[in-house]
Amino acid sequence: MRGYVLRRLFQSVLVVWAVTSIMFLMFRVMPTDPTAMLMDRGMTEAARDKLLEDWGLTGSLWDQYVAYIGNLMRGDFGNSFFHRKPVWEVLGPLIVNTLWVAVPGLLLGAVLGSGLGVLVGWAPRGGKTERIGIFLATIIRGVPGFVIGIALLAVFSSALGWFPAFGMGSVDADQGASRYLTLDFLHHLALPLIAVAIYFLPENLLLMRSGVVENRTEDYVELVRAKGVSQSRVAWHTARNSLLPLITWLFPALAETIAGIVVVEIVFSWPGVGRELVLAVTRQDYPLTQSAFFLLAVMIVLANLAADLIYGKLDPRVVYK
């Protein structure tokens, strides 16, 4: 087991390295010249050279690459052009904000989605519940993330006035770490969190439903039913087995789910990594862009790693070698 975890960790590091390298190439090989951006900032010659050197933009592509990877490994992400401070200082608190929306939002979506999926999966085939369930899930799945956000804003913020429209706290709110524990924060968190959950829910529902429908005609379910256990117990057997394909399916889908979080952060002006990435792109803040992208990629890799380990726990057939 320990050997397996170590091997998977090693693989994850390799994947991060590969993603990082792709990103490196993307920024250097693409037609836009990053130095042009730097010069436009109206720096002195000396300051520009220093910045170029700081950023490892001197020397051959290979030299740059080595310097770049070296910096990353030392945890040195460089300085943000716009904020004029180390990237890490900018992004550090933003990661926390993003996780605040992403983790509970995705969990809520997954739990509600798979729960409803079991219900729809066990509904009579071709009946009302099944048809309505599938139809609604498919339609909601087709709603773009920003439309979910806009709709929530329109109803619960503009029309009903129940929730604030943007930001993470009221203007006079506490700025320290304790701010995350205030009611004011939760009030602001509610809508973005729900938006992420709604974005994530239909996919879960449909996958769980397919899994349950596939499983409910299996021989083992027939035997469980024959044993005379309660119906919820039977449903639980199918859900438990459908969870396995669900996990293998959902975690690759995370790469796409991040997209939902990015637009939700924008719509609700939620100060997270995704919003910062978009802002950095429009401001041509090249070190910040690179680092924000890097962080999002690392999140996916970590989630994938977690999924693999959870899968191993859930499926007795997996043997760790």
Binding site: K227, N241, D315
Partner: protein, 354 residues
């Protein structure tokens, strides 16, 4: 007295069940109309007796089992009665069924990999059935499961293992152990050895026979193998295209079959040669089973029967009712001995092909 001993005593006190099936008809709903999988089937299993339900694929034998367990897909139309100790168990609600399932009827399914839930250990799956019906602690249920494992010849220590760690034969034993766990009055064994190799098949069937001899539960053995029935069951019911075509005491039916289908089945059944004896050729039954979406008007076997007449093709013979003596659903039962002699010749069955 320990809790386990109390449980064992309570379960041991259960009587063997009596099962009377009368005029059972089952039709699956398909987009192309009702599929009459079972048509007017009647049979009886006396308390402590074994009935062999034999037939080829698609004859409806497994559908009968499913209907008795309440496992038919929703929307399937069922008519007739299935009296378990005098109470009709057809068409019960899920709630009412849970009092019948496993406590009164237990099921031995075939041992394909899928008959056990892959993500739970075998012990959990056996105790699940005990805990669903008996108010005992988990430890007592587990101890009972260990005893059941012993009966089927598996070490109790392997209860903690998962289905994929078991061989096909061991899985089959585990399924049998599960079926025995509440000492139900009636055991339904649905093709219990089909997926296994010959030696394992034989060992499992021997095990089932000895368990039956010890516990005297009533049993319905569903199989396509007439020889397995010959070795295991007191009475036999031969099914063809959704109907029982011949029934009676096993030895009588197999030695002096009265229905041409039973005769054909015997001819087609491969046998081991006996040294010094010439042996019968293997003869197949020509033609194919009728489509049960549109069953023929007359006798369903008429299309393949070498003795069929116009009467057979226009009018269905009377359905078999419950009777202890041998009977066949054939217009020409009285000419059975004459048919038997001709049926042994290969040329008899060669007149048509399909």
């Amino acid at each position: 007295m320990g809790a386990l001993a109390k449980l064992n005593e309570r379960l041991r006190a259960k009587p063997a069940a009596h099962m009377l099936v009368e005029r059972l008809s089952i039709a699956y709903q398909t987009p192309r109309g009702p599929f009459r999988a079972v048509d007017d089937v009647s049979f009886e299993v006396a308390a402590g007796a074994t009935l062999g339900l034999v037939g080829e694929s698609g004859c409806g034998k497994s559908t009968v089992v499913k209907s008795l367990m309440g496992l038919l897909p929703e929307g399937t139309s069922v008519s007739g009665r299935a009296l378990l100790n005098g109470t009709d168990i057809l068409g019960l609600s899920e709630r009412a069924l849970s009092d019948v399932r496993w406590t009164k009827i237990a099921l031995i399914t075939q041992s394909a990999m899928n008959s056990l839930d892959p993500v739970y250990c075998i012990g959990d799956q056996i105790t699940e059935s005990i805990l669903a019906h008996e108010r005992v602690s988990k430890a007592v249920a587990w101890a009972r499961a260990e005893q059941m494992f012993e009966i089927v010849g598996l070490p109790g220590s392997r209860l903690t293992e998962f289905p994929h760690q078991f061989s096909g034969g061991m899985r089959q034993r585990a399924v049998i152990a599960m079926a025995l766990s509440l000492n139900a009055g009636l055991l339904l064994a649905d093709e219990p050895t089909t997926a296994l190799d010959p030696i394992m098949q034989d060992q499992i069937m021997s095990r089932i026979r000895s368990i039956h001899a010890d516990m005297r539960r009533s049993m319905i053995l569903v199989t396509h193998d007439i020889a397995v029935v010959a070795e295991t069951c007191e009475t036999i019911a031969v099914m063809y295209a959704g109907e029982v075509v011949e029934a009676g005491p096993t030895a009588q039916v197999l030695q002096n079959p009265r229905h041409p289908y039973t005769m054909g089945l015997q001819n087609a059944f491969p046998k081991l040669p006996v040294r010094g004896q010439s042996r019968m050729p293997l003869i197949s039954i020509p033609g194919t089973v009728p489509n049960l979406l549109h069953p023929p008007v007359g006798c369903r076997f008429a299309g393949r029967c070498p003795f069929a007449t116009d009467l057979c093709r226009s009018e269905a013979p009377a359905k078999l009712s419950n009777s202890i003596s041998q009977s066949a659903a054939c217009h020409y039962q009285d000419r059975a001995s004459e048919f038997r002699a001709i049926a042994q010749k290969a040329s008899t069955w060669r007149h048509k092909d399909g």
